[in-house]
Amino acid sequence: MNEAIFTTNNLWMMISTILVFSMHLGFATLEAGLVQKKNVVNILFKNTMIVCIGLLTYTLIGFNLMYPGADYAGGFFGFSGFGLSVPEGNPIDYAGGNYTYWTDFIFQGMFAATCATIVSGAVAERIKLMPFLIFSVVFVAFCYPITGFWQWGGGWLKEAGFYDFAGSTLVHAAGGFAALAAVIVLGPRRGKYTSHGIKPIPGHSMPLATIGVFLLWFGWFGFNGGSVLSANPMAVSLVFVTTSLAAAAGAVTALFTSYYLFKSYDLSMVLNGILGGLVAITAGADQMSPTDAIAIGGIAGIIIPFSVVFFDKIKIDDPVGATSVHMVCGFWGTLAVGIFGVKGGLGQLGIQFMGVATVGVFSFVAAFIIMYVLKLTTGIRVSEEEEIKGLDVCEHEMSAYADSPAEQMAGFKM
């Protein structure tokens, strides 16, 4: 391995880190756009804190739980000590000339927090701030790294032949199942499911939501492209193609499916279709041909509207569609590796199912327990009055927009 290629590989991994970082802004704006005006500060606060908490816990413990080293190969759990320490030896050798130790850590660290962010959208508009942050700390410090270790850290799933290129299972389905558990413990927003039927609670800003989805797609070039773990020209560029085509196909099929179902060009469904396509291709982005990618993303786009309606029917209230996008399409994308592409085949399909199911069950159960314990101790839900007034005023003593002429005037006297 020569120094020049090492430098280039590492550069790409660092840029991927920046791209994955920008996904946090994507989540923040998407989720802010899909909640009501009175809960915007709260969702921004949570999303801002999650990145920060995620990076710090990953420094302290997560990284060494997820990548404890070869000693724990094939296992269920490993840990190589607190904090970071640069290994001895020539940096070029740390990862066969692909990236440095620091790059490894920061790239993985940016990934870690996305998992908790997925939950934040699903529990929006009624969860208390502090319990949620505690949940995030625990989830991102322990749960995500443990299941992550199973596969990417070289644990038992890896050994079983499971394949999850960039995290349809390990990030998205894990986060999505946790979100489902959290929503079940927490209950729906007041007024959403009434005796007269479902009462939609429209998000307060479609521009913010759209910005969020574009930023997520933008960041996904690093999420998937960086998962090649080097700047290998053919591999990374193929991943760019499959990722983008799956997103594009998801949008188009979501458009037609939702038009067929609701006779309406629903922007929020198209946006979710794009995300569904992205989540679905993630497990096999390096394995698929363009046509496979279009099929996988396109099917995700069809699943999305049905899934959103289904969860509403069973009264799982998820304001941003995180369960449909991350859990359902993460599941689908993981299976798709056993159907399409180079690895497709019944055997692989079985292993894929087993992998996503075990990770899903683990994440679900872990999230359920954490949430339940918090419910019994600190409480997890704001009061009815606070929910009606909004979390911004009640938890943050602030409103997201101070913008009427009368409010502006208020600045001119005590």
Binding site: I198, P200, P202, F262, S264, D266, M269, V308
Partner: protein, 112 residues
């Protein structure tokens, strides 16, 4: 002195303004209101749930005027604001006890 409140369609605002100007009414106060009435709001769809917006955005025009102008104003608003479809709105006439112009302290018909 009378106050006339007219709750009108957004789309008729300009026609009404012109009609009022023709009879010499150039002063009024406008506000955004939401109307609940016979005409239902638009069919809306959000994330797969179909619902009716239960109100319609409307404008309320408040006009202060002298007693003798009332009929002219009402007629002007009706003729310019009517589409004939449910939802054209209402005109309400009140008696006003006093009107004062803040700038000068003038009262009554001097003030409008």
């Amino acid at each position: 002195m009378k106050k006339i409140e007219a709750i009108i369609r957004l789309s008729r605002f300009d026609k009404i303004r012109d009609a009022l100007a023709l009879i010499g009414i150039n002063f009024f106060t406008l506000q955004d209101v939401k109307g609940f009435g016979l005409q239902k709001g638009e069919k809306m769809v959000y994330r797969g749930s179909v619902y009716d917006a239960d109100y319609i955005a409307r404008l309320q025009i408040d006009i202060l005027t002298t007693d003798d102008m009332v009929d002219a104003v009402v007629d002007a608003i009706i003729s310019s604001g009517k589409t004939g479809e449910v939802g054209d709105g209402k005109i309400i006439v009140y008696d006003v006890q006093e009107v004062v112009r803040i700038r000068t302290g003038e009262k009554g018909s001097e003030a409008v």
